[in-house]
Symmetry: C5
Subunit: 355 residues, 5 copies
Amino acid sequence: MSETSNTKLSKKSGLPPGSLVHIGKSRSEKIDISLLKYNSETAEFHNCADIMELNSLVDKNYMNWININGIHEIESIEQIGKEFNIHPLVLEDIVNAEQRPKFEDYDDYFFVTLKASGSISVKNIMDVQQISFIVGKNYLISFHENKNELFQKNIERILNGKSKARKNGCDFLAYLLIDTVVDNYYFALEEIEDKIEILEEKILKDTTGKTLQEIQKMKRLLVMLLKAVFPLREAVSKLERKESELIQDSSAIFFRDIYDHIIHIIESVESQRDILSGLMDVYMSNTSNRMNAVMKVLAIIATIFMPITFFAGVYGMNIENIPELKWQYGYLFFWSVCIASVVLMLIYFKRRKWL
Amino acid sequence: MSETSNTKLSKKSGLPPGSLVHIGKSRSEKIDISLLKYNSETAEFHNCADIMELNSLVDKNYMNWININGIHEIESIEQIGKEFNIHPLVLEDIVNAEQRPKFEDYDDYFFVTLKASGSISVKNIMDVQQISFIVGKNYLISFHENKNELFQKNIERILNGKSKARKNGCDFLAYLLIDTVVDNYYFALEEIEDKIEILEEKILKDTTGKTLQEIQKMKRLLVMLLKAVFPLREAVSKLERKESELIQDSSAIFFRDIYDHIIHIIESVESQRDILSGLMDVYMSNTSNRMNAVMKVLAIIATIFMPITFFAGVYGMNIENIPELKWQYGYLFFWSVCIASVVLMLIYFKRRKWL
Amino acid sequence: MSETSNTKLSKKSGLPPGSLVHIGKSRSEKIDISLLKYNSETAEFHNCADIMELNSLVDKNYMNWININGIHEIESIEQIGKEFNIHPLVLEDIVNAEQRPKFEDYDDYFFVTLKASGSISVKNIMDVQQISFIVGKNYLISFHENKNELFQKNIERILNGKSKARKNGCDFLAYLLIDTVVDNYYFALEEIEDKIEILEEKILKDTTGKTLQEIQKMKRLLVMLLKAVFPLREAVSKLERKESELIQDSSAIFFRDIYDHIIHIIESVESQRDILSGLMDVYMSNTSNRMNAVMKVLAIIATIFMPITFFAGVYGMNIENIPELKWQYGYLFFWSVCIASVVLMLIYFKRRKWL
Amino acid sequence: MSETSNTKLSKKSGLPPGSLVHIGKSRSEKIDISLLKYNSETAEFHNCADIMELNSLVDKNYMNWININGIHEIESIEQIGKEFNIHPLVLEDIVNAEQRPKFEDYDDYFFVTLKASGSISVKNIMDVQQISFIVGKNYLISFHENKNELFQKNIERILNGKSKARKNGCDFLAYLLIDTVVDNYYFALEEIEDKIEILEEKILKDTTGKTLQEIQKMKRLLVMLLKAVFPLREAVSKLERKESELIQDSSAIFFRDIYDHIIHIIESVESQRDILSGLMDVYMSNTSNRMNAVMKVLAIIATIFMPITFFAGVYGMNIENIPELKWQYGYLFFWSVCIASVVLMLIYFKRRKWL
Amino acid sequence: MSETSNTKLSKKSGLPPGSLVHIGKSRSEKIDISLLKYNSETAEFHNCADIMELNSLVDKNYMNWININGIHEIESIEQIGKEFNIHPLVLEDIVNAEQRPKFEDYDDYFFVTLKASGSISVKNIMDVQQISFIVGKNYLISFHENKNELFQKNIERILNGKSKARKNGCDFLAYLLIDTVVDNYYFALEEIEDKIEILEEKILKDTTGKTLQEIQKMKRLLVMLLKAVFPLREAVSKLERKESELIQDSSAIFFRDIYDHIIHIIESVESQRDILSGLMDVYMSNTSNRMNAVMKVLAIIATIFMPITFFAGVYGMNIENIPELKWQYGYLFFWSVCIASVVLMLIYFKRRKWL
């Protein structure tokens, strides 16, 4: 994935800063705009046709959660940027699906971008999706790469009044959404852990070249997960330390909780990597053990048959006057020598523990 | 272990923060509630049927040590949370048996959660149990995953008045209990060290594929221990630095002692890991040495018998006029050539130190 | 590259500090001097024959971007140094094409030197070029090792008035140019990533010694890229933290953006190195798997033919009274024994999964 | 060593803090108590029967150096603890021979514990001994695990008035003693370095499995040394930074010197470890080179004899009408073919550089 | 080298601190004392017979650069120490040729000790020489292990008035000399880089056991260089941060330049180590590839000759009534079978890409 998308990153080379260039899979469907406005008493959900309609609905007396599914319509992003007075570099980061997770504070609002882990495909590639938040005093704008149901439960809980968000500011809503994304990593992590466990059993039975490739793929999945989570640690730590004035003390304690989760995920990824490198060792050692086994069979066969073949050769010689040839029990004698030789060899192998 | 429990971690995904979800092995037995109330003059121990009874017994004029064995009855945990005014995130961490060890200060109380190492099973899996403490001015609440005798001695010593705890606050009691948990790691560590020592002797004699798997298992045990101890270092260092105002100067010095123990355990684990990676090297090199030995036997046998088999073949030819065939001492000559050839080969192998 | 150029680094040994010695590929072409002077209203571009002409054109009422292509004419560099009152150590660094990227603040101006990545040759060697900037209140002097078109777009955009640079100071121009250089790394990175991807497919099919050498070459390319980018991180971080007073707040935010890009590149290089070391493992394991396959063929052939060759030898013996020899179905019997032996062996190999 | 002693560490589990439990090799001999009291004019040495006698001799107008050889008599240690008002945790650390080196400041006195390296046994195990110091205004108490002559020279030099200690406080005496211990590490380090050098020559000649085990043992010796020296760095750095008010400026400069020595030892240990891992590589590669050599001999023998044995077989066939059999020069022809075949093979091997 | 010299380090064990013991190669030649006194107008060079003569020549109105070649005459060093009031620990460090590079500030003067890299011998051992500087207000004393021409150019440039040193204080002279030493590392580094490049080409052609030893030797050379340069980084960084008040602002900027060079050298050493470990991989993989080639030849030979030897054996049997024996075209038939068998085998090997 990263290879093909990175190719697009160089598209920006040579453009002035703040130029909006969509980087990511190209899409053609229309972007999806919705608004959830609520306060402690009421909550309304609106699907908007375009930014114009959205602007007419936003109301500074409510908390306004604007959700944009799709970042490929540069013009809409620019319109929102203008409306909410967003710095061009922030807009540039939003439409760049290869952006590294980070937190930035811009006095009037703060900006968080992160990666949501998706399902892992049959080919063991993880679908990673970028999500960005702009959080101001009474608005939160969330941007997704494409349509998805990730925040569906959060929306429902706000609408039916069960969520604490109703009584808190947009910083708490930001917490809820980031928490949803981070908790989602556990699904990916657990899926990978299951796959590694299966791989582990497989490796003890059968070690074809394919098992090695699977170990490599698992390594990459973990790296992919780490690349999503690792920079997030720094970003969330800034939220926890209240680097933006928009974050209240009561929310900070919740961001500390997310921070703990992230550390937990990172440590789990690290220990899974340890397990994988242990599996590599097992794989490598299995390969040499099998080679050893092959060698032993070869050595045993050669050691048993070479002497007796030599004996047969001796009595096949045409030299005159070989006494054994004319001896009455010659044939019996030959077989006795052969059997004795084989038995001695087998005893020797038994002693060396080759058998 | 971690794999099956982690699976449950994703259960929390999508739930609002502070939702209490028990994560860990599911249990059905009733939880066990007890209260030890004491001051410098007197000490009483009560088994309580439920939280109601407990509340009626707690007395702010004493130090109250409440001990909850079992974290799977969400309602009881919630009742305690209400009674002592505990932050929902703390309760969430208490019922999550996969929580990473940590210390958190909440002005009125502080919260410590850690892992107690248990016995190591025949399959070399360590039983790790989560213990959490909430420490306030005159109360300490301890939570265990299940019934256990870990703190039995501490209870007895307080009851019979021998413990220093009787003359100190709840911060000192917290120290005593954490110290008990940390000292307990030594049992696990020493058990692992003994197993590694046995493994070491085994590896010099016999290196089947199983030895490698045992090395891997030992590695995992050490990782498991490290995962319990490593985050604890940070937590205890916060206690030592008196990040909570509830910790008195005289207690801080004791937490420094625990800190030293933790560092000592971490360093021991690290050096055991070094030993294990040395064992891996020995194992790998034994494998190639054995392969070498097999190859040598094969090469020696082949080198000795190939020439003499050839000689036998020569004198088995039906070509007319082979002078040796009719020579009187032909058979003797043949054997002399064979023996000379074998002796020369043996001398050669002796020189190359193959024998 | 580094080997031959480093050789020259020792040329400076024994010289007094501030001695200008050109280090890098020796060139003979004349250096190329140009001036772009602009303010928010107007912009002019001049090619200058020499430093004298340049000095006569520089105008303190404009922003003056002086561009020097070629650092091998020591006298010209010295003249500029005198004119703009540049510290001799800075001039020494400018003419040393082996200089490590860095930022230095000298009150009146600041100095940044960095490496621009160029194209990767067929032999997988990257062309790295040194670029230095001296940035004062109303002038910016850029030095290139040789003529190149890297900043052509920036010049055009300033001339046609589209660039934000027109309304900003020289610190913003410095940002634009550094951004151009950093964005350029993406080209190199993506080219390397593509090559590694091709290598990856290749390694699964065919693993001659050459594949290993290609892995090594890719490693070196990544090291070369890292050597260019890694020290730059520190330099740009100083710019972002406004260590020079010449950098305005509005520009600092842009340098933070460059800093993000650099971190992103470093992380990508690191993960490519991980992939390469995974490829090494695959390569190594393929080598032993192939050895295993060869050994198996050898062992199977030997195991099949050694017994039957022995049987043929037995019936070729000249011993009298071998009953089978005179038996009517002797020949049939012999072949039956041979075929039975071979079949038994094949069954054995099937069971051991060698076939 | 560490394995058996650690076993005892768990003895402390479950005991209240400050419980004195001797951890280390059990001993029965009486502990040895001596007092050296001195000032700039006079110095006296006393052997004391017990702590009572010691107490009667200690004189606050002198510097009192109390030396306790043996830490297994818990009661004597407790008596000293009471007399000098030592914190119970300090006493606990003194009698625990598995204590990690450290420095602790207790206002009235400071506490340093470290490991003295002893001789290396034939089995390549190093005798490590724990030494602790309690340093107060006019007293220094040193504790050894057993009787030894380590500080004999220091005692003599103080008695004959040659030592600077006579004119300085107890902090300077502490410096002298720690310096003696640290200088002693050089003996161990140099012994290990010599052993590694011998091992290095050995490995080039002969690489049996034993050499590998010796490499492993050397690794452990270095780890043991590092475990003694590494935590000491932190302790001495605290002394250098005068964390105790008892350390005067003039002494601090001397502790800086010890600090330098420790860094030097750590760096030497690290580079010896590098050398050892290089030796591992040489060992491993020697193993495969020898395997290669064995394989070559096998391949050469097989390649030479297989064709000519086939020829002999051909002319041993009983097929009628084989023209060569009746040819007059048949036997000569056969030998010519054999010799030609062998010569061709040898030329081939020469070309492939196998000979 | 380090092994034999370290042996001497333990000579100091047991001696009081500040005892001067010469550690290094023992020498007998007389030490060489010279004085260069200069100010901005004049400069004089004197060779002194002994310290007495030196003292009579030193003039506080000039800058006095005292150069001592040879540190084995303890008495002379002590005399200088007394004259310039140098701390005994500094003198101890000067005569200890195994001293780790460092900077120390002693109010009236500062002390710098470092290692100058010398030529690399045929056996690939680098001659490292210790140089120490004591720098006071108007004097600089430099100590060398033995006579050498390292600073000859600096002396000449001061005498003929070309050096900036004439117009600056002793801190600038210190800069000039340290710069000379650091620039000298480039010679060693480049020599090693050249040797590694040669080694690289060699390894692709021929990989005997010797190549591995050469890799190991190169590793050691790099470690030796790193051991000289790495601690120097810290020392020079202290000079740059003006930890001594004797260093003026204008000089500090020059020390920053040295600091840059040191970082550059360290990074180059690191990347050379990377290259060496890449070479190790190539070496190891070449070894297995060669083993693979040997195995293939063996397998091919065995596979081709075993079947046909069996056929020859069959027709050599004395069983009566073998029809082929009496068949007219028996011999032709036999050879057809043999050739067919060989051709089939060759096709099989071609397919498996063994040929």
